[in-house]
């Protein structure tokens, strides 16, 4: 696993997102599931219960893929990275509106975009032969 950048990144990010998702529930007591104003995680990241669940699911997907195979890690890194990039961009238009059902704030966008850059870059740009090898 250590020889594959995709698997390494998937496992690290997966573990971090699972921890973040679990910690999120500690600050969202009394916050409704789709609230546009949630609790503050670490004092800067705004989360609501839906956001926490999303973190847990994404973390589990990354961790499972990273532990499974290079091909799986590459695929999940790319998909999650693309989703985060899309979320970060769409987030620019959602801020301050009722459609902000993930209770995203500025620091959330920054974290999502930084994650997107790394996951997508590693998923798309590293081990490009992994899929072909797995198919052969």
């Amino acid at each position: 696993m250590r020889s594959s950048p995709n698997r390494l990144i998937a496992v690290i990010f997966g573990a971090v997102y699972i921890v973040v998702g679990a910690l999120g529930f500690a600050v969202t007591g009394g916050v409704s599931f789709l609230a546009t104003q949630g609790g503050m995680l670490l004092g800067i990241f705004m989360v609501n219960p839906l956001h926490n669940v999303a973190h847990l699911l994404i973390g589990a997907a990354l961790l499972a893929a990273g532990l499974a195979s290079t091909r799986a890690a590459k695929g999940v890194n790319t998909v999650v990275g693309a989703a985060y990039l899309l979320l970060g961009i769409v987030g620019f238009f959602l801020v301050g509106t009722a459609a902000n059902i993930l209770a995203l704030n500025t620091f959330d966008h920054f974290l999502h975009l930084a994650s997107a850059l790394l996951l997508l870059a590693v998923g798309l740009g590293v081990e490009r032969g992994a899929s072909r090898e797995a198919m052969a």
Binding site: F93, L117, R128
Partner: protein, 176 residues
């Protein structure tokens, strides 16, 4: 090691251009603002799409066109600046776009771009992976301050007091 950096730098520039252009959603039918901001959205989307294409292909695509595109992005940034876009955001996106275009053109000329075929030696693969990771972190660190100055970011800040909603392009705190 630096082969993927033009794509990553283009992503950084593209994200900032999209964030600047996102103020169009709050332009409230202001024709001038829409005319200034919509091209920024197009440029931002093009930069991100080009970055994806380069990373997927494993080689520089359209190196000369990328350099020309970077110059166009800088000129459009200057126009947006006149319209009141945040200086740090425009400056950062311009620097990232120019760096991306210059690296792409240089690599294309130097023939560094790979064909994307055949097996990559393990050592080269590790070096490439390290380059991608370092580049992504560097671009994230460079782009975030620029993003933070945009209207899209300040509208999401509970301490913003809604200033950005009144002036689609201008963040009055950006220059202090």
């Amino acid at each position: 090691m630096l082969r993927s950096w033009p794509a990553l730098l283009a992503w950084g520039a593209g994200l900032i251009h999209l964030a600047i252009g996102a103020a169009v959603a709050r332009a409230d039918g202001d024709g001038n603002a829409i005319m200034l901001l919509t091209p920024m959205l197009v440029v931002g989307a093009a930069e991100i799409a080009w970055g994806v294409a380069v990373l997927r292909a494993g080689r520089i695509r359209g190196g000369r066109a990328a350099a020309v595109g970077a110059i166009i992005a800088v000129l459009m940034g200057a126009v947006a600046l006149v319209g009141g876009a945040p200086v740090i955001a425009v400056g950062t996106s311009s620097a990232l776009a120019i760096a991306s275009g210059a690296m792409a053109a240089r690599m294309r000329e130097a023939g560094v771009a790979r064909t994307g075929k055949g097996e990559e030696p393990v050592r080269a693969s590790r070096s490439r992976a390290a380059g991608v990771a370092v580049g992504a972190l560097l671009v994230a660190a460079l782009a975030m301050p620029g993003l933070a100055q945009t209207d899209a970011a300040t509208n999401g800040d509970p301490h913003d007091h809604g200033v950005g909603a009144d002036l689609p392009l201008v963040d009055p705190h950006a220059h202090h």
